[in-house]
């Protein structure tokens, strides 16, 4: 029997019968490909894909995968477990710090150690609000230690306000407030803070606080670290960019402070930024292992060139100067400096501690340490005890002077009140006298004229008389008007 329906020409793959050639056994019965069956199969496929799409959407696309609890009938806990991330990956070569960090979105860690700083906080937050560096790229870290005033509550309140600010450009990045007490015995008032004897142990404790703050707040994503004291009164808003542009590992501006006029108007403040000198190195060799050289005291004459004294108010603010010790009022450093281990020695490192030791250690690790002698920021002026005494004296003097003035003024007033203004009387008397004189004159003239012009009666006489009359009437009207002015005022 020949298959009737195909391959009758002997070619197994006849052009016209292309489809049929795929059936393996053409002689068997095939399921009828009725339109109904095709439709059902299609519907099935459509439903299957729909279900798959829904499932796929539910698992991967739905935000927070919130469909899962529905599917699992609440047997599984809520959806945000799926967002819990435990692995972090960082490439430290991306956070080396460059001159134009704001363009590369480099993050800065701003560190501020605080102790009993309540009175300065509002001023500091004023500075924070004004920074031009993108705020969301700056992380703030505060260490509050051994504070007896309201530093902590005020700080939290100000920070909450800052983060909740309407202006999207105001809120900062990560904010950490670290509370740690070191049991400091040293007072923070100006006198005890700057007394020579207290310096070494005070500086070591300060260094400890700084290290705790840094080690708790430095993250692998920071490119820069900025140390800033809260008692800076005046600084450019662009200070971060200004310092960053120099692209140095460690950089500090010059720090001065304003003074009252009687003290000369201004004064170098931060004497911890200096260049090493031979004298100081020789001095260091003579001291014992734990001694700490501190600047600005007669006890250690180091003859070092200080950044502060080299300031020229009209100098180029971009001028750089290599330094060895740095002051801590405002330090911008690349985070890699701290990552590689440079810190604030809380022990005597090459006879220095804290920020000066920091500068020394950075130098030891071949980092560049630079100061800007003509770029100045201004520290708050806090009068010393002597200054206060002097100012009290000045105040007393001023008050005494004022009282004197007042007294004098009062005496004048009294005199004025007791003796009425004699001017009008004088005027009157004057005119009277004048009138008298006129009359006399007129009489004398008359007599003269009488005597002289008995023989000639001229018009001269008629001319002189009206003159005198005129003068008299003038004076009289003046006195009258004065009396009129006074009269009604009194009545009323």
């Amino acid at each position: 029997m020949l298959p009737r329906h195909h391959a009758s020409n002997g070619y197994p793959r006849g052009k016209s019968e292309y489809k049929e050639t795929y059936s393996i056994s053409p002689h068997r019965f095939q399921p009828r490909t009725t339109p109904g069956a095709i439709r059902r199969r299609r519907q099935l496929l459509v439903r299957l894909t729909l279900i798959l799409i829904v499932l796929f959407f539910g698992f991967f696309v739905w935000p927070g995968a919130s469909i899962l609890p529905v599917l699992s009938l609440g047997l599984m806990s809520s959806g945000d477990d799926f967002q819990l991330e435990t692995v972090r990956y960082y490439d430290l070569s991306n956070v080396q710090g460059t001159a134009r960090g704001w363009e590369r979105e480099e993050r800065i860690l701003l560190c501020a150690p605080l102790r009993d700083a309540e009175s300065h906080l509002r001023m500091f937050f004023g500075h924070l609000r004004n920074f031009t560096y993108p705020h969301h790229l700056i992380d703030l870290a505060f260490l509050v230690s051994d504070s007896k005033d309201q530093t902590l509550p005020l700080l939290s309140q100000l920070l909450e306000e800052l983060q909740a600010d309407e202006d999207p450009k105001q809120p900062y990045g990560e904010i950490s407030i670290i509370e740690k007490d070191f049991g400091q015995k040293v007072n923070q008032d100006v006198e005890s803070r700057h007394g020579f004897a207290a310096q070494a142990s005070r500086r070591k404790l300060m260094a400890q606080a700084r290290n705790w703050l840094l080690s708790a707040a430095l993250r692998p994503y920071h490119s820069w670290v900025y140390w800033r004291d809260v008692d800076v009164e005046t600084a450019p808003f662009t200070i971060l960019e200004d310092l960053m542009r120099h692209n140095k590992d460690v950089i500090v501006p010059n720090v001065w402070r304003p003074l009252p006029d009687w003290l000369g108007g201004e004064q170098p403040y931060d004497l911890n930024s200096w260049q090493e000198s031979e004298t100081a190195l020789a001095l260091a060799d003579t001291l014992d292992e734990d001694a700490v050289i501190v600047e600005g005291y007669a006890e250690y004459a180091t003859w070092r060139p200080h950044l502060a004294y080299l300031r020229d108010p009209y100098g180029d603010p971009d001028m750089e100067m290599d330094i060895d010790g740095v002051g801590g009022v405002s330090i911008l450093a690349k985070a890699k400096v701290f990552r590689s281990g440079v810190h604030f020695p809380a022990f005597s490192f090459e006879k220095h501690a804290e920020t000066e030791g920091f500068g020394k250690m950075a130098k030891r690790m071949q980092f560049s340490v630079v100061g800007l002698p003509h770029y100045t920021i201004w520290h708050l002026y806090e009068p010393s005890v002597d200054d206060i005494r002097h100012m009290e004296e000045m105040e007393k003097e001023r008050i005494a002077h004022e009282e004197e003035e007042k007294e004098r003024a009062e005496r004048m007033k009294k005199i004025k009140e007791q003796f009425t203004d004699p001017n009008s009387q004088w005027e009157k008397d004057k005119t009277d006298i004048q009138n008298e004189a006129m009359k006399e004159k007129a009489k004398a003239e008359k007599a003269k004229a009488d005597a002289a012009a008995q023989e000639i009666e001229t018009e001269e006489e008629t001319e002189a008389a009206p003159k005198a009359v005129k003068a008299e009437s003038k004076v009289e009207s003046k006195a009258e008007s004065k009396g009129d002015a006074k009269g009604p005022a009194k009545v009323q």
Partner: protein, 370 residues
């Protein structure tokens, strides 16, 4: 009419699909919860800008395109303790490992540690070279296994991987090359920088203990952290040995490996005095006999593992440090510090800050044998 008919007619294919779907859904329902316990969730930070020692919730950075400012977070570091009962006081441990090569045995040993894993954060620093890439890939594979699909008890609180270019690249890492005296200073300076980078970026505000564990430590007692912390010392170091097969007897034996834990000697002090500021004293070289007392040789057969000795220099293969020591500023000097460098310099710097070092000559950990 079509849908009605298809519902009425039971097609075997639809039944199969339905059954398969049911099974899939039931698997989903009955599957052991893949999520973390509420306790772990509570410890999580709400923002990726958070101390890396805690896990964080991913989605919070941006909602409807706006940046949500991170919250103000208080850290009460006065309450941070490091005591002889770290488990009872729920003290967190940060395990730091400079990783040059990944050994499977190292990871297994980590997983075996009996200290509660939810109190452990792991942090690695890996050089950016070909070996480093391979090590990172291997490490990440193991991390995924443990953190995503492993049992919850084995999962660590957080894991940090850092990559860094080491300036003098650590190229030749074969054992012979590595121990050549000339290479030591540069190598250990680079190592110090790596250690410091790792330490100061991961320490965070809540770490109580820091355990330095080299990537080639492949065997430790499972109670390593508890045992070392029990001594309640600021810096404590076990004795690092190496297992090998004795070529003569063909029996397994062990030999001391880490010679950086020592007590100082007068000879060494005199040697240091005669040295320049930038020279370093090294241990274990015949050209430079220091006559220091090495802890490696102080181990007794069957000696008390709790025996303590004071040390002047420590090795870094396994080293437990109270976090406050590092917080005070004790780091690994990448420059000659009192003619010492890296971990030995660290012990010296800690001493300058008032923290002593202790060694346990009879408590052993084992180094990989190449």
């Amino acid at each position: 009419m079509g849908p009605v008919r298809s519902l009425r007619r039971t097609n075997p294919l639809t039944i199969i699909v339905g059954v398969v779907l049911c099974i899939v859904i039931f698997i989903f329902i009955l599957q052991p919860s893949n999520s973390d316990s509420p306790a772990r969730k509570a410890a999580a930070a709400s923002n990726p800008l958070s101390p890396p020692t805690s896990p964080f919730r991913k989605q919070n950075e941006k909602a409807n395109g706006k940046r949500i400012p991170p919250p103000v977070v208080h850290y009460h570091m006065n309450n941070l303790t490091s005591t002889s009962d770290p488990v009872g006081n729920r003290e967190t441990v940060l395990i730091l490992t400079p990783l040059a090569r990944f050994y499977q045995e190292y990871w297994h040993n980590l997983l075996r540690l009996s200290y509660p894993h939810e109190l452990i954060t792991l942090a690695f620093i890996i050089p950016k070279n070909r070996d480093g890439n391979a090590a990172t890939a291997a490490l990440q594979e193991q991390i995924t296994k443990t953190q995503k699909s492993g049992p919850e008890k084995k999962r660590f609180a957080s894991i940090i991987i850092e990559r860094q270019d080491f300036e003098p690249p650590l190229v030749s890492q074969t054992e012979v090359e590595r121990h050549k005296m000339e290479n030591q200073k540069a190598r250990r300076a680079a190592m110090s920088r790596a250690r410091n980078s790792l330490l100061f970026t991961t320490l965070g505000p809540s770490t109580s203990w820091v355990l330095w564990l080299d990537s080639d430590i492949v065997e430790t007692p499972t109670t390593l952290i508890q045992d070392l912390a029990w001594h309640n010392k600021p810096i404590i170091v076990p004795n690092c040995f190496q297992r090998f097969t004795d070529p003569k007897t063909r029996k397994p034996a062990e030999r001391p490996y880490d010679f950086n834990s020592w007590q100082d000697s007068d000879t060494a002090k005199k040697l240091a005095e005669g040295m320049g500021k930038d020279d370093i004293l090294l241990e274990g070289y015949a050209q430079m006999a220091t006559y220091r007392t090495l802890m490696a040789y102080m181990a007794d057969e069957g000696g008390d593992p709790k025996q303590e000795i004071d040390l002047d220099g420590v090795g870094g293969t396994a080293l437990l440090v109270k976090a406050e020591v590092h917080r005070d500023g004790a780091m690994f000097p990448p420059f000659p510090f009192y003619n010492l460098i890296e971990t030995e310099g660290f012990a010296k710097m800690a001493k300058r800050l008032g923290w002593g070092s202790t060694g346990l000559p009879n408590y052993k950990v084992y180094h990989y044998n190449e």
